[in-house]
Symmetry: C2
Subunit: 407 residues, 2 copies
């Protein structure tokens, strides 16, 4: 008899028919002998309506505690409805608000972090043979007010609850059926992965493959919670996110991810003196703008350099404004910004023990005539920045080159 946490997102509980479908799915797990705790999101569209009301009253300076009070009201509807749908199938169930489930957070309204889960009430419910239906996305702050975890926070609620309950697995039901070697909308030969490591999933999430929120993956890794991503509209296993030692024979490369959320800035002809990088990146850091890939190239005579880096597309206008303000102080010739770039990443824990992965990437792109504008690497990831018109070409070529194409 295993203890499973299941999480259903907003599209899975969007109306009464889908809620009945979710209840039937939970019943199957209960009938199979599992004890089940369920974490649910708000019905699709609800939270957007609530946010729109807050912004309609006060677009800018609203009190984040009151924002949380308003936007935390969607999940409490779903928990009651799912419990009723279960009961009408003969499955004993009861609902829990965040505070009733003991989900304690810090006081950072709108983006609170879970500091502890006191799972006694949920445990008692499970021990009585009932399904516990818990509101995701919300908790209770140190002052007894309702907090929310930020968008996608229900995944984090589910993983944290699974950790607190020492659950065998945390099943994240969503509208895709798993994690793929790359985006199947672009590469027809993309394959669903049976397993992927936490580290790889983290890198995939951080470069745009938003199947799971980054925070929930980091939390799962920290507490070694086995997470399964699967579809609530189909009936087959999804992708299991697990510890590296659970993967018997790992691929060298597990997936190719990409992110269109990048923009490139080049500061041209800046004097190449000590402290010049600090002069460029200091003001950006002060403006809370994250810089990702950085390349510095020096001119032939060694007196001037070009500094190229990426920021998120959303930050590009602010970054340009910040640098324009300090142009005199830094002393550069001009600023070139290009939002038409994409970051393509090759990800795999096998890289640690295999040489030549980067070389194969560069060679494959060169063979297709694709120019690399910047490079960054981590222990299990190589990322390159290229012109976004080459996205599809690059993904398909790399997917083949690393032997990921489905038979």
């Amino acid at each position: 008899m295993a203890l499973i946490v299941q999480k259903y997102g907003g599209t899975s509980v969007a109306d009464l028919d889908r809620i009945r479908n979710v209840a039937a799915r939970i019943k199957r797990a209960v009938d199979a002998g599992d004890r089940v705790a369920v974490v649910v999101s708000a019905m699709a569209g609800t939270t957007n309506q609530l946010v729109a009301w807050v912004h309609g009253l006060d677009p800018a300076n609203y009190d984040p505690a009151e924002y949380d009070q308003v936007v935390s009201t969607g999940e409490p509807i779903t928990i009651g409805l799912v419990a009723i749908a279960l009961q009408s199938l003969g499955v004993p169930a009861r609902s829990f608000l965040g505070w009733q489930a003991g989900i304690r957070t810090d006081g950072a309204h709108g983006k609170a972090r879970i500091v502890a889960i006191e799972p006694q009430a949920v445990q008692a419910c499970l021990e009585k043979g009932k399904v516990a239906v818990v509101a995701g996305f919300q908790g209770i702050g140190p002052d007894g007010r309702v907090t929310t975890l930020g968008r996608g926070g229900s995944d984090t609620s589910a993983v944290a609850l699974a950790a607190a309950l020492r659950a065998e697995r945390c099943d994240i039901y969503t509208d895709v059926d798993g994690v793929y070697t790359t985006d199947p909308r672009i590469v027809a030969k993309a394959k669903k992965l049976d397993r992927i490591t936490y580290e790889e999933m983290l890198e995939m999430a951080s470069v745009g493959a938003k199947v799971l929120e980054t925070r929930s993956v980091a939390l799962a890794m920290q507490h070694r919670v086995r997470v399964q991503v699967l579809s609530s509209f189909e009936d087959r296993p999804g992708t299991l996110v697990v510890d590296e030692d659970e993967i018997v024979e790992s691929q060298i490369v597990s997936g190719i991810a990409y992110s269109r959320n990048e923009a490139r800035i080049t500061v041209q002809q800046v004097e190449d003196r000590p402290g010049v990088a600090a002069a460029v990146f200091g003001p950006l850091a002060e403006a809370n703008i994250n810089v990702d890939m950085i390349v510095q190239s020096v001119s032939r005579d060694g007196r001037f350099a070009n500094i190229t880096f990426t920021v998120s597309k959303a930050d590009l206008p602010r970054a340009e404004a910040v640098l324009a303000r300090v142009k005199e102080r830094i002393g550069f010739e001009r600023l070139v910004a290009d939002p038409n770039v994409v970051k393509v990443s090759v990800i795999g824990v096998g890289m640690r023990s295999h040489a030549g992965i980067a070389h194969k990437m560069f060679q494959t792109l060169a063979d297709k005539g694709i120019n690399i504008q910047a490079i960054s690497t981590s222990e299990i990831k190589i990322s390159v920045l290229i012109a976004d018109e080459y996205t599809e070409l690059a993904l398909r070529a790399l997917h083949s080159a690393y032997g990921l194409d489905a038979a």
Copy 2:
């Protein structure tokens, strides 16, 4: 500096514009130097939608605790929005869920009763110069689950909070501007009352003048909370519901109310023996059917009687079925049911010290040729049952006869 509780119903907070209007009204009280605690309902229509979802999943046997979890989610939206609207006018404010405001109830989900209010958190908020915005209709049961007080429960929340805070007054904002001597849609000369006693208000509410829920009036009377009924769409005083000794010169008759929610049943030619009334009303009581007016008339030879009584229209089919089942045991000739009746009531605390009030009622109706089918009285009320086609005629004639017509 007075402490006022204000309560706004669903139509008063139906959309963002109306919420801004409510915030502006609260601000005026704050600017005038009052400390204000506000109780709000859900946005009009919200609770009906929530109830419809529950019934859509399970029309009959739903768990009342889960029903409460679902239908209690409307007010938590409004409290946050009203707090934000106040803050954007520069009025410090914070919201309170039922449990945060210390509203403790029994465990009778769907129709819970408030057993205590622990007002310390709300008091602390008021003492800091903030407006406290409290969710009506909800509380927390002995097991830590959310309860609801039943329809109209927000009035009860407001009066109970006013009692706990020892507020100077509880202002109930609604879509009518006060309590009238009779229904102004029927009697054009109806006058708004400046003041009315708790006892009169209770009788008015119980015979259909549903300006305030009966429970909230009873609670106000018990704790001597001064209640004002007024419109949130206009700017003038409403009707004050107060203790009798606050009314200097009371009218003998304060109002004429009516209820179309009655049906008459006559059990004809029942044998007039001891215990026959018990034989008729026992099975109705067992079926949880309330009986109101009762008239028993005996035949000329004293052997048979007719028993006439009223039940609510909703209970009429069940009452007929119950009596049909026991017809043999009771031994009556036949059952005559008539739903086309109305109960008209003359109400006034002055009746206690004045004779002739009933006589004037009967004479006035007789002069108009209206037949009285049944009579019931209380210390401050005389009610008669008449054919409902005479409703308007009777109300207008009685309104004049008791000197209530506006000049």
